[in-house]
């Protein structure tokens, strides 16, 4: 077990190294110059050169990459081109907002997707199954920003129940946080719920066609017991993977939704960093997201062993 975790951590480190290289290469290829953006249209050659050399952008790309990597290994992710603040501080400051939105959205999604997916799988072909499938089709195909704006217009505008945008830290004012998180979390959660519902439905359907289910039914177990004890438990394993992937992508920040709702998370930070070509911040944000992704995956693998005794970690 310990060896398994150690090996996975080592693999993660290699993966993160790969991430820095890929991001760096991509940034080299993307047109646009952070110093030009910082100066805007008021371009003055002298100021431009001064700023470039201050940011180290006049160095060859290889030198830039290795000096970045050298500093990163000591925990120094550099400073933002735009603000001059340390990247580590900037990125970590955005983490609570993203975490709280991601987990709330996932919770909502699970609360919706589980009952709907199971019912729709068990009662496949029934009117309720059709309704659920229409719902999940809607959630997957309607753009989230549109749903967000409609939510704002209805719940903040017409009904006046919720604030249209903004953020309050959970640690500061839990009630205020809840009021502000509902709309963005519901918007994101609805999309995630649609995806999960479909997976749960098909997973349940697949398990239902297995021999052991037929055996259980033949033994005369009540349908309720069959579903709860045999179907659900086995249907859960592929679902866990999908939930983990969804969680990881939520942790990466939901860019459009964070921008729309003025939610100060990683997604909005990434958006601003791309616009400004703020390479250090972008690198830092991607590294953090990649790290969270690897962590979630590790936890899922450990969870597998719990759910299914046939899988063991070595």
């Amino acid at each position: 077990m310990r060896r398994f975790i150690l090996r996975r951590l080592l693999q993660s480190a290699v993966a993160l190294l790969g991430v820095t290289l890929v991001v760096f290469l991509l940034l080299q290829m993307v047109p646009g110059d952070p110093v030009r953006v910082a100066l805007g249209t008021r371009f003055d050659p002298e100021t431009y050169e001064a700023l470039r050399s201050r940011a180290g952008l006049d160095q060859p790309a290889v030198v830039q990459y290795f000096s970045y990597l050298g500093n990163a290994l000591t925990g120094d992710l550099g400073v933002s081109f735009r603000s001059g603040e340390p990247v580590t501080d900037i990125v970590l400051a955005r983490l609570p907002a993203t975490l709280s939105l991601a987990f709330t959205a996932l919770l909502l999604a699970l609360l919706i997707a589980f009952p709907l997916g199971v019912i729709s799988g068990v009662r496949s072909g029934s009117p309720i199954d059709h309704a659920v499938r229409i719902f999940s089709q809607f959630g997957v195909s309607v753009p989230d920003f549109w749903m967000g704006i409609m939510g704002i217009l209805l719940f903040a505008g017409v009904l006046g129940w919720l604030p249209p945008s903004g953020y309050v830290a959970l640690s500061e004012d839990p009630a205020g946080w809840l009021a502000h998180v509902i709309l963005p979390a519901a918007t994101v959660g609805l999309v995630t719920a649609s995806i999960l519902t479909r997976f749960i439905r098909s997973s349940v359907l697949e398990v239902l066609s297995q021999d052991y289910v037929r055996t259980a039914e033949a033994k005369g177990l009540r349908p309720r017991v069959v579903v709860l004890r045999h179907v659900l438990r086995n249907a859960l394993i592929p679902v866990v993977t999908v939930v983990a992937v969804q969680l990881a992508s939520l942790l990466g920040g939901v860019i459009v939704i964070e921008v729309l709702f003025a939610w100060p998370g990683i997604g909005r930070l990434t958006f601003d960093a791309v616009q400004a070509r703020d390479y250090p911040v972008l690198q830092g944000a991607v590294l953090l997201v990649a790290g969270l992704f690897l962590l979630v995956n590790l936890l899922v693998d450990l969870l597998y062993a719990r759910l299914d005794p046939r899988i063991s970690v070595r």
Binding site: P31, A38, D44, T47, A50, A262
Partner: protein, 508 residues
């Protein structure tokens, strides 16, 4: 923001004032709301987040929206954009116009209580000049800045500079900063200025909190503070205003502004701005090096339709750069839509393909381009619209990789700012390669011309040549649009887009 949170913010503000040190806004200490005679914290929703709060290093308009209330300059523009005393109470120039002596206001303090003296002015200007910061070009003719005593600043020039006051006060990018604040690095997030408000808190991605500066030299601000939040989507910003989550915003959906303006609550006001938007043709490329081709395009454009599409009518069409309200305006409108004239100027050169570069950073350029494409199609020019994000757009502009582009210039005050860098052969913003020796000469003369009447004449002559040559094809001056709830009073919508909250009050 709920009412409960506002109380909390008020408590945090009061605490911050007491401590005068950066305390986190999470401090849950039960302190009263402040002086009851004055009033409240105004919640302002702006369209984006400042990149940083160092006035000398930022170029983002969002930063200046905040910093306008935190910093002072030696002089500052009034509503008519005439330079008035601010930190400097008076100034005189030597007979040769090369030495300017400014007398500073007595007893001015930074918000932390330390004195602001002539040394701080010297330090601020030297910092901009020596470190080649963004506003360095405004000091191009400055040879030396000296502080013979605590309230006197002497600026020596290499050439007469009639627009020196506009350079030293036009915007807060030339503000007087505090050396200790710069040296500690705090200026990026906790800048210390001498303006009517000071920065009490900055939560990245979320909000900036200002509190009234009790050490301010002028009349004390009526508000206890201002909280800026960053709401990118104009529909959401409007909902904030309507739902009493914000008291003021300048980020309103343009298509709704005419209706809102008539409806009354929230109050929405529009004022013609000093900005202008234009079409530039790359004169290093054929056939746009030919003035006749550029004039043909100028004659083919339907400016009213362009302004209507781009700004929903919230703009005034213009054929010269400087708007009507300015004393530097030059009334000259040679290009009234005339397709026959345009075709004859093209002289059989139809079948042209023009690639027009626009940017999503300014959505109005994307919309305007569609009208321009339709207009030019009528004279046989096929327009291909190339839409880029701003970073790439600037890259292409810098490299000269364009047939034509659409953009605007914002916040100019003095005619030198409107013309020199854009139209002089050696101008730093002359990306479209305009060359006219006569214009160069006039712009150089006017730049050092100290006789105001003569200076106006020289700029008028330069403007006529620039328009005749269609160096830029001017399109319109947009309006400044702001909205506020009926609790807010004293807002002055300014033509230079400076957002000043010092005279604003909030009914409670």
């Amino acid at each position: 923001m709920s009412r409960g949170h506002r109380t909390l913010a008020g408590a945090a503000l009061a605490l911050t004032v007491a401590l005068l040190a950066g305390c986190s806004s999470g401090a849950g200490v039960d302190v009263g709301g402040g002086d009851a005679a004055k009033g409240g914290v105004l919640r302002a929703a702006i369209g984006g987040e400042p990149d940083q709060l160092d006035p000398h290093k930022t170029s983002a308009y969002y930063s200046f929206q905040v910093l306008e209330n935190v910093y002072d300059t030696l002089v500052e523009p009034d509503a008519e954009l005439q330079m008035r005393p601010s930190l400097a109470t008076e100034w005189r120039t030597s007979d040769d116009q090369l030495t300017w002596t400014f007398t500073l206001r007595e007893g001015v303090k930074f918000s932390d209580g330390s004195a602001l003296t002539a040394e701080d002015v010297v330090y601020s200007y030297r910092r901009i000049i020596d470190e080649k910061l963004n506003a360095a070009y405004k000091f191009a003719t400055v040879k030396e800045v000296a502080a013979p005593d605590a309230t006197t600043v002497v600026i020596t020039l290499t050439a007469p500079t009639p627009n020196l006051l506009a350079n030293l006060g036009g915007f807060k990018g030339v503000a007087i900063v505090q050396k200790a604040n710069v040296d500690s690095g705090d200026i990026r997030t906790k800048p210390v200025g001498s303006g009517p408000f000071s920065v009490a808190g900055y939560t990245s991605g979320d909000r900036i909190e200002l509190v009234r500066n009790e050490n301010y030299w002028g009349a004390q601000a009526k508000l206890d503070g201002v909280t800026f939040t960053f709401v990118k989507d104009p529909t959401v910003a409007l909902q904030n205003l309507r739902g009493d989550e914000a008291d003021w915003t300048d980020n309103l959906p343009p298509q709704q502004v005419p209706g809102l303006r008539d409806a009354g609550n929230p109050t929405v006001q529009t004022v013609a701005s000093n900005d202008y938007w234009y079409l530039a043709l790359n004169q290093a490329r054929k056939p746009y090096d030919d003035p006749a081709v550029r004039q043909a395009i100028a004659f083919a454009l339907d400016r009213e339709a362009i302004a209507k599409a781009a700004k929903f009518g919230l703009a005034t069409v213009n054929q010269t750069a400087i708007p009507r309200a300015s004393s530097w305006h030059y009334d000259y409108t040679p290009y009234n839509r005339d397709l026959d004239k345009a075709k004859s100027l093209l002289a059989g050169k139809s079948g042209l393909n023009l690639e027009l570069m626009v940017t999503t950073e300014y959505p109005e350029t994307v919309t305007a381009a569609q009208v321009i494409a339709a207009n030019l199609d009528e004279i046989g020019i096929a327009v291909k619209i190339r839409t880029l994000d701003f970073a790439q757009w600037l890259d292409e502009q810098g490299k000269g990789n364009f047939d034509a582009f659409l953009l605007g210039w914002l916040g100019n005050i003095d005619p030198d700012e409107f013309y020199y860098a854009q139209h002089h052969s050696e101008g730093t913003f002359n990306f479209h390669n305009y060359r006219n020796a006569e214009v160069d000469k006039l712009l150089e003369q006017a730049r050092v011309q100290t006789d105001q009447a003569a200076r106006k004449q020289e700029y008028d002559r330069a403007a006529k040549l620039i328009v005749d040559d269609a160096s830029y094809i001017y399109l319109y001056n947009p309006d400044v649009v702001q909205g506020w709830s009926d609790k807010v009073s004293g807002v002055e919508v300014r033509t230079d887009r400076a957002i000043r909250f010092r005279d604003v009050a909030l009914a409670r």
